[in-house]
Subunit: 178 residues, 2 copies
DNA sequence: ATTCTCCTATCTATCAGTAGGTAGATAGAT
DNA sequence: ATCTATCTACCTACTGATAGATAGGAGAAT
């Protein structure tokens, strides 16, 4: 196995906590307790908290884009529907925020490697969406605007829906997007 | 004076920290140190952290809506421009996130009174916008959708712009809104 | 086969730092 | 005298992190 089972479990537990309450919401002790090991053993897999945070953001980003697939693949309209659905699934299936949305909100207080991995997530989002919008015939400027707008609306819709405790608000907020 | 000068300074410092890194980013000790008093003295003005957090969200909300004014006042189009500008100012003048945007992202981990005050902010936003959209002739359902969409896009645009370290992305993301 | 060596993954025990919070004293103003 | 706002001094709980020990398995050398 490339990554040990324990390392994956650490990431799973940390991700859930981070997507609930941000970077300060997961701790080595709590993760360890949930797995049934000692906090020192968590440090064996991830030497520092920022290393764990960085791994978290990278894994989240990779999973996210593996779901979306190639922006040059399926029909643009289908890809955009898939994109909106991916955010909706994160909210409704997991019942959690987008990891990088939470990290993005507190980015100025994150350790540089974590902030950087978070930035990379949004950078990849912008690129992916711009490619899809280009295929729809939008000019580069318009494609960038449309991409930024979609990301913003989706991240914000998650916050709004969670803050109000009303998942239907997510759908209302993104109704016109795809 | 209704609120002592010290209490206002406490709120100012806490707000800045919270809008940078969330609820866990401000502490009684740091606030006290910045003012030049002891942390026990901060507890005199706000007995608990959740009381401070609640006061923070309420003051932020009140300031915000006092800037916006009466939704039945100026022309709807003008009000919407003002609404978008209020978010833009929070980002560009203060260089910070929307307080309730940050709190909203981590709402599931906030003490109930803070979560409640955060929810109230979004509730007020929805109501204010719905009134304005109603005046523009939108049906109730469409007005609610439009309101949710605007809030989402603006909160998300702040996150995106800050995460990417590029304030122009905010403008790009909200270009079509008002 | 047995022994030696190395690696993985965990443990115990501990550290310094910081968190929020409290009790009780005190100086100064009303 | 009382109230306001601060102080000193302390508590318990938790944070991330480290040092050093240990058990068990894998592979190589004898």
């Amino acid at each position: 196995m490339a990554k040990s089972d324990t390392a994956e479990r650490i990431l799973d537990i940390a991700e859930k906590a981070a997507r609930t309450g941000g970077y300060n919401a997961f701790s080595f002790r709590e993760i360890a307790a949930e797995i049934g090991i000692k906090s020192a053993s968590v440090h064996y897999h991830f030497p520092t908290k920022e290393a764990l945070g960085e791994a978290l953001a990278k894994r989240y980003s990779d999973h996210f884009f593996s779901v979306l697939g190639d922006p040059q693949g399926a029909e643009p309209a289908e890809l955009l529907k898939r994109y909106v659905a991916a955010y909706g699934a994160a909210l409704k299936q997991d019942g959690l925020m987008c990891l990088c949305g939470v990290f993005g909100a507190e980015i100025a207080d994150l350790p540089p490697p974590v902030a950087s991995a978070t930035r990379a997530f949004f950078e990849r989002n912008l690129e992916w969406l711009q490619q899809v919008h280009n295929r729809q015939g939008l000019a580069p400027d318009a494609a960038e605007q449309a991409a930024a707008h979609m990301i913003a609306a989706l991240e914000g819709a998650m916050i709004l829906a969670r803050a109000m405790g009303n998942a239907a608000l997510f759908d209302a907020a993104v109704a016109g997007l795809s």
